[in-house]
């Protein structure tokens, strides 16, 4: 499991780097429904069109969104498979901490049994 994760490391780093910014995370959320193009997306943020375009380009390079033609329009769509890959890393981390909490619980029970 870990080996697979490590093999995919370069992509993950780019993805997490792309997601480290609040505006870009918001773009990823909005683009899940793939209804808006760059112009519409840009209207949500108090920054220049060029700045939003730059954010989208970073997300695109990370494989988190792609531009897609729908009829005559071009919309931005979130790549859910990539987001799920990030999620799997977090799932493994959850398991690690669940193990720790279990050991903490056992330790507390043990000292109680000793009457401490």
């Amino acid at each position: 499991m870990v080996v697979q994760v490590l093999a995919a490391a370069p992509d993950f780093d780019r993805m997490f780097g792309a997601l480290a910014d609040h505006t870009r995370r918001d773009i990823v959320r909005r683009a899940i429904t793939a209804e808006e193009g760059i112009v519409e997306l840009a209207s949500h943020y108090p920054m220049s069109f060029a700045a939003v375009q730059k954010h989208i380009a970073i997300l695109e390079r990370a494989g988190l969104v792609s531009k897609e033609r729908v009829g005559r329009r071009k919309v931005v769509r979130t790549n859910l498979a990539q987001l799920l890959a990030v999620r799997r890393l977090l799932d493994q981390y959850e398991e690690l901490w669940r193990g720790r909490v279990d050991r903490m619980t056992a330790l507390i029970s043990e000292t109680k049994a000793k009457g401490q």
Binding site: M1, V2, V5, L6, A9, F12, D13, M15, F16, G17, L19, A20, R25, V28, R29, L83, V86, R87, L89, L90, D91, Q92, Y93, E94, E95, L96, W97, R98, G99, R100, V101, D102, R103, M104, T105, A106, L107, I108, S109, E110, T111, K112, A113
Partner: protein, 168 residues
């Protein structure tokens, strides 16, 4: 179940795990404040940890070593940012080089521990981990894993111990 809630935000790269214990906040704090207790839970059974330094004060350090099943050795330390016994602990978990010097390229996670009493003899502990990048999270997973089995063993231990206590 000891773990009462888990919140994961893949976009912000954070995870929060909440657990409740039938114990006082002071007792739960000891899990972190007593190096001998910390050694018992920090590393999974196949990655036992040895705490070599333990100074739980702002600016202080907690240093540890771990040895994996293949004899692989890892060193790391916490850089203590905030301490408020028995309620609050904030630290940065960092990878160290083989000689123990900090590997400054590898800040692993900022961890925020909050401990509060939620009833008589009942305490909630919340642990929030925030990662700076994916590499950091992968390192943590690569050196503290075999997690599925670890969890199972931990649960069995807990059940066995609890049953022992309930005997008259």
């Amino acid at each position: 179940m000891t773990v009462t809630a888990v919140r994961k935000d893949p976009q912000a790269l954070t995870m929060t795990i909440e657990a409740e214990f039938d114990a006082s906040p002071e007792r739960v704090w000891q899990l972190w404040a007593d190096p001998l207790q910390l050694e018992r839970w920090w590393g999974p059974p196949n990655y036992p940890a040895t705490v070599t330094q333990h100074n739980l004060a702002p600016g202080g350090r907690v240093e540890y070593r771990m040895i994996g099943p293949a004899g692989d050795r890892h060193r790391g330390y916490w850089e203590i940012l905030e301490v408020e016994a028995p309620r609050r602990l904030v630290f940065g978990d960092t990878h160290a080089n083989a000689d123990g010097t900090p590997n400054t390229d590898m800040q692993l996670a900022t961890t925020r521990v909050t401990i509060e009493e939620v009833g008589v003899g009942r305490t909630r502990m919340s642990i929030e981990s925030r990662f700076p990048n994916a590499e950091a999270m992968e390192w943590v997973l690569a050196t503290g894993t075999d997690v599925g089995r670890t969890q199972a063993v931990g649960q069995m231990d807990a059940i066995l111990t609890e049953q022992t206590i309930q005997l008259p």
